[in-house]
Symmetry: C2
Subunit: 360 residues, 2 copies
């Protein structure tokens, strides 16, 4: 099978750097943190991903044993060519916002190395890929510097934050300079959970419990951004929640609206109903979508009050990859398909070039 | 206005003990913890309830300044007589499960004192009230002893747990003896959040954020109980989630089912689809219900796949009290009204006497 008739903008593709590969890109002052002192990324999750390939699709690992998402050729073969993607938005894997706040200077430098590695090894090698500026939210000034450094790159389309284990919801004003910078450069703010994201009761006894409750941190970030006025400061800023699905969105809209009606005196800077803010400024990458019939799916769209909130994503190369051909109800009307598979993403990723060149 | 035509079983009424009032009921060995050493209940929430009466309806406070829920006469006037309640289920306010696990013996004794105070001051004084056996989950053996001590009381209908700040979801097998005891005596397991319940990102900057995210701990407890096999061990046990509303339930059912399909090998003791377990064994007290139209409300019922999951509650005397006359869509069909206002509760609270005597 070759391509689908649909134009696809895939809002969640994880390219992956082996740590050693980043060292040549890293500020010389910090290389020994990795090469000598053996720093590795924090990983708080007390389980492995209990599936045939661990975190990845078993068939996405390379023949020489590197993890899924390490190899451009495999990404092309298994995704970009397979489904005829118009665009793939790279969302990375190594993001300092998900780590402990300590060693901020090192981690900010690591994000610089990561971004340069991403450009050289991915964006420069396939014209269908666009990228994310990874930043260290725990060093807001450094994050702003990194955004400014790369803001003119023609294929950087968003600023990327991963959610870590600390109690620091992203709405806190100490982080607002990062959003000011994103808004200034018309970059989308992408928010992704991580293997360090907790739940309301910490890490439960089984992986299935944690994986079921992953949407909680997305709900928490929406609430934090909305009630701390990020969208009132930046009415043009677009935020996309990536890899949390969307079936929690109606509940969250109702609950935020109810609480806003009752308690808005506490947050007088919030001027719109929270559900309106969501509809105007927040989007949701679809994966991992539950197995919905068209009737169930359309009911959810109806409850959200807009068919412009969902942006298709595969989450390649993870084990719970969503195929563009199977994940969503196949009997969805064509106009809605077009919206979810490309138009909704195109509407928020305004920096996306008009059209990708033909594949190499 | 006097009574409604409906029979009402109110599944969440908070009677409240001033701490001093409990001392005479407390084991002598522990009285000095309160009277001399000044112990007060843990309260982790870093905000006050930012409403006219704080935690309570302003009109539910007593003339001499005691908090709402302290006075039986006011409860009778404002709720039981006002709406013609058939039954009010007392859910308390002081529950050791929501506190730090330390000083377990003292807190277990405090629950005994609380329960005796509840019986003498509330159950013995109004025949329309039934009660909850409050237990200290952090002392499972003590909790079982307390259940056994009171299991023969004709108007105790459930075992009550409040959710605290610690990472100890209730599905953990160390707590299962408590559920064994509840099941043995046909007591419902009631689960309630507390002012110590966290969110996935801890305590945010504003009260409205925390209050919006309260449903998270209920989702976490459902997931924990389901995937740790509590309902497989006890297929007749009924659990009710109290004061978290219910608009999160469709999302949670879909997400649990999806994860179960993909990852059930990890939890082979779970034999049914999680959404079936919910439909068969878990119920949700309605308050604080969002402002739903009948169309929205019936869509939610449809998504849950059962009209037997919701049990009406007022949450008296809290500030966001739900009136039986206004909280739910008034144009709901009569048969569904009967289910939500009384029949669904009656079906799970099997120990509820057939009919309350006429009011005193």
């Amino acid at each position: 099978m070759s391509t689908t008739a649909l134009s696809i903008i895939d809002t969640d593709i994880h390219e992956r750097a082996e740590l050693d590969a980043l060292v040549p890109y890293l500020d010389k002052r910090f290389r020994h943190y990795i090469t000598e002192a053996g720093w590795v990324p924090d990983r708080v999750l007390p389980y492995t991903q209990l599936t045939a390939g661990g975190l990845d699709r078993a068939d996405a690992k390379t023949a020489d044993g590197r993890p899924g998402g390490s190899d451009l050729g495999m990404l092309q073969e298994q995704v970009l060519d397979e489904y005829g993607h118009e665009w793939g938005i790279l969302t990375g894997w190594l993001n300092a916002s998900a780590f402990h706040p300590g060693w901020a200077e090192f981690k900010t430098a690591l994000m610089t190395a990561y971004n340069d590695w991403q450009i050289e090894n991915w964006l420069d090698k396939d014209d269908r890929l666009v990228g994310s500026i990874h930043v260290n939210i725990h060093d807001p000034k450094g994050a702003v510097r990194e955004i400014e450094r790369l803001a003119d790159h023609p294929r950087m389309v968003q600023v990327m934050l991963y959610i870590g284990p600390t109690d620091s919801p992203f709405g806190d004003p100490i982080y607002h300079p990062v959003y000011d910078a994103a808004a200034r450069h018309n970059l989308v703010l992408g928010i992704h959970h991580s293997e360090n994201s907790r739940t309301a009761l910490g890490f439960h006894r089984y992986f299935i419990e944690w994986h079921t409750l992953v949407p909680q941190v997305f709900m928490s970030e929406v609430v934090s951004l909305v009630f701390n006025g990020v969208f009132d400061k930046h009415p043009d800023l677009k935020v996309i929640m990536i890899e949390g699905g969307f079936s929690y969105v109606p509940h969250l809209m109702w609950k935020m609206d109810q609480q806003y009606r009752e308690l808005r005196a506490e947050v007088p800077w919030v001027k719109r109903m929270p559900s309106d803010i969501v509809r105007e400024q927040i989007r949701f990458a679809t994966q991992p979508v539950e197995e919905f019939t068209w009737e169930q799916f359309s009911q959810l769209i109806d409850q959200m009050g807009s068919d412009e909130l969902l942006c298709f994503s595969t989450d390649y190369p993870h084990w719970d990859f969503d195929s563009p051909l199977e994940a969503l109800p196949t009997d969805m009307p064509d106009d809605l398909k077009r919206k979810i598979f490309s138009e909704n993403a195109r509407a928020i990723y305004e920096r996306l070039p008009a059209k990708a060149p033909a594949a190499a």
